[in-house]
Assembly symmetry: C2
Homo-oligomer: 253 residues x 2
DNA sequence: AAGTGGTCTAGACCACCTC
DNA sequence: AGGTGGTCTAGACCACTTG
């Protein structure tokens, strides 16, 4: 019989579109340039807007595009390398990492964090909010959970909340001896408040970096940092930071 | 004046849906259980299927759900922690990391890789394919790029391709002295072949781990590993592996 | 006010898996 | 064959930014 499936495996339109656009981006557009609007692009390629959007979504996920409501779609610069745990072990807030303490409250952490801290499920802990800015753009938001037992001598005189409180808590934390840390990275989506702080919409993809700080066998603190996945490349260099490289796409489609 | 915006910021339906489903998942479903199909869920919540799908997409991104065409949507188990660069520096393939060499060819690497290797743009390099399996599931696919200069004594007698060739190349590579390495993690999307190897659809979100291996100041090899972002949590422990923790969502919405 | 991307709908058909 | 998720369409309206 004849039907030998010549044109088999028809790849989805949006995927093909992604490839075409990706190549156009490489050759015909400069960083920062704004693309034609979605309705026009869709018409130009002869597809529905939803299909075109599916392709754009992919490219945004890969850090190639940046879309802003009311403004347009622009060609994104290469991802910025952000150092995570730059060198050896160090307490958060020691030295000048890129972080900036914002606030500090006393509140019950999420269950997962309580479990890591080995505190009672509803027990309040010091919660330091920090944010990180790189090249003028917010790249990460962090919540640092520090149980009272890790800052035993915290003077009650300091402000009960606010930036000064945050710094006081960190200062006390540094008095402990750091014995080790333990990091993990996973994909997540930005909650409403994270999204606002990162200047993204809720649900935006983020890289969630969970760090546990150990002292005397116990977990002295837990950091939960969310990095903008579209603009950041997390680096764990043993040596200094390195040259740019372009595009997370691994192999041709 | 009166209009104090009581019910302002109406969050999108799909986002609200995501929250509702997420809570239902916590309380009413067991891992592995299959959910009602999309058409029924959409009807039950009184939304279009596309809207429901947007919510499911979010939950899948967060590793809470697993969807398989022709089968259904199931509740995903907690993400597995996958050790990346478990302890200190080591050549890839030395000792028993979770990797398994699959193949080896001689081909021109992507431009970005050539730049890191400091080889000419179209110069072919040894390209070792490896795959990693955890708990019976494929979790990562890797391409290891090794320029000829890093394996000078590679005997021409060995098979020119295939698994044995891959092992021979790695064996030769290990003869060099490893001076350091440099890692970065970013979000990407699976290419067609990666997708197949990871048992996902093209475009599936992956965590791309780029590792450079240094020797005598040069880059001796580059590894480009793509991990399934939905099922994996990358761990960079200084200590042994740790307990599960649940859910990458950082804060309540 | 006009233009952008973001959300949502109600359909249709397709690819894949299981029985 | 029947059921599932995946793709695609052609519209509508909304939220946001900018002149």
């Amino acid at each position: 019989m004849g039907t030998t499936q010549l044109e088999s495996v028809p790849e989805p339109k949006y995927w093909h579109l992604r490839t075409v656009l990706s190549e156009a981006l490489d050759s015909e557009f400069a960083v920062g340039e704004i693309l034609p609007n979605e309705r026009e692009l869709a018409a130009r390629f002869g597809v529905a807007r939803a299909t075109l959007r599916q392709a754009l979504e992919q490219l945004e996920l890969e850090g190639r595009l940046q879309r802003r409501r009311g403004v347009g779609t622009t060609v994104a610069p290469p991802r910025v390398g952000v150092a995570v745990g730059p060198s050896g072990h160090a307490w958060p807030g020691a030295g000048d990492d890129g972080w900036q303490a914002v606030d500090c409250t006393l509140a019950a952490p999420p269950g997962a964090v309580a479990r890591m801290l080995e505190t009672a499920p509803q027990e309040p802990v010091h919660t330091v909010r920090r944010s990180r800015v790189s090249h003028g753009q917010p790249v990460a938001a962090e919540l640092l959970y520090i149980p009272a037992s890790s800052v035993p001598d915290l003077s009650a005189i300091d402000a009960p909340t606010g930036t000064t409180r945050a710094r006081a808590v960190l200062r006390e934390l540094h008095r402990q001896t750091l014995e080790g840390q333990d990091r993990s990275v996973e994909l997540g989506s930005a909650g409403a408040d994270d999204a606002k702080e990162l200047d993204r919409l809720p649900g935006a993809p983020v890289l969630v970096v969970t760090t546990r700080f150990f002292t005397e066998g116990r977990t002295a603190a837990v950091s939960l940092a969310t990095y903008r996945a579209d603009t950041c490349r997390l680096t764990f260099g043993d040596s200094g930071s390195v040259e740019i490289h372009h595009g997370p796409e691994t192999r041709a489609s």
